[in-house]
Symmetry: C2
Subunit: 187 residues, 2 copies
Amino acid sequence: MEELCIRLAQIYPLPEPALSKFLSIWKSTSYEKGAHLLKTGQISNYMYFVGKGAVRIYYQKEEKEITEWLALDNNFFFSIQSFFQRVPSRLAIHALENSEVFMMHHDDLMQLCEQSHETEKLFRKMITTSLILSQIRMESIQFENAHQRYQRLLSSSPDILRRVPLSYIASFLGITQETLSRVRNAR
Amino acid sequence: MEELCIRLAQIYPLPEPALSKFLSIWKSTSYEKGAHLLKTGQISNYMYFVGKGAVRIYYQKEEKEITEWLALDNNFFFSIQSFFQRVPSRLAIHALENSEVFMMHHDDLMQLCEQSHETEKLFRKMITTSLILSQIRMESIQFENAHQRYQRLLSSSPDILRRVPLSYIASFLGITQETLSRVRNAR
DNA sequence: TACAATATTTGACAATTGTCAAATAATAAA
DNA sequence: TTTATTATTTGACAATTGTCAAATATTGTA
């Protein structure tokens, strides 16, 4: 919870009493390694924050599993389209390690946003952050080759290799496992 | 202006008096073909809406010009990172045709957002729309080949080929002009 | 420890796309 | 209309990455 507060304050320092109310709608849960936070076809009701731990967002694409996102310690994540558009999620989410996860229900958030302009503002800034990250990732995928993408990931998240199977990382980077294996050794 | 109102209402129907105030901060300008709306290195102060016309957002990458976005008739566009983070823009924007452009200054928008919760909500929804589009485009770039990306563009914006030079479209799709030329003929 | 299951690496080859140069087509200017 | 300029297409070849199969390494479990 500590870390969640810190991350929120970095995005926008919500004044009281809105802050207390906002924090109160986050629920804490523990997920065992392998457990699902969200399954394909469910409407994703939550925005999540992983404290200590790691989760993977993925989906099925022609008999392959595509890793859409990896979130390690102290990061937000959610199934964007399902959460916002209230449609069944194409994405599934599971824990890669035993993880401490905080989650906030869509309806609770919307209710607070109605009541509190300041909370709406915080939420707007959270989405803005996601949008900027999305742009950066898009550019990386479009213009960097396998080696450059791997290096970028390494420098932004150095311990990811020790904690996440190579096949997931490769898919997240948009390359095959074999290519990633070659790229990270030799050359 | 008509079309701008329609598009805004689709995103969120802002009630009066907020709507009138919001509309009043949009300024209308005409740009001649080739004219710049924004040059590299400037801080991008505006969110834009092109009425009738076409614009191109691009940047320089190792002696090549990369087309980051193309906006035709009745669409929003802006230099996301510069607009939100108030840093000099890596992107430039110019008109591909004589264009009718509406623009809204960052500071005016922020002032209205402070005053009006409803306006903040509209803005939040506009960003959410951008985020979802960004996700869809990212997936297209990551998992579709040149031919599929071209087809997707054609179906979402059929007249783009008649109005935008092939080299810009190719760059926008993340492929070379030669590959696009081959993909759209034969095969 | 030894075995089984899973994960990663390696090799051979194919598919896709990029690069560079030249030819052709389309457009704008004289 | 003719010419000059710009845009698009085509060919030959190279680079990158993907695919499939097999080998090796790692991890978890009896």
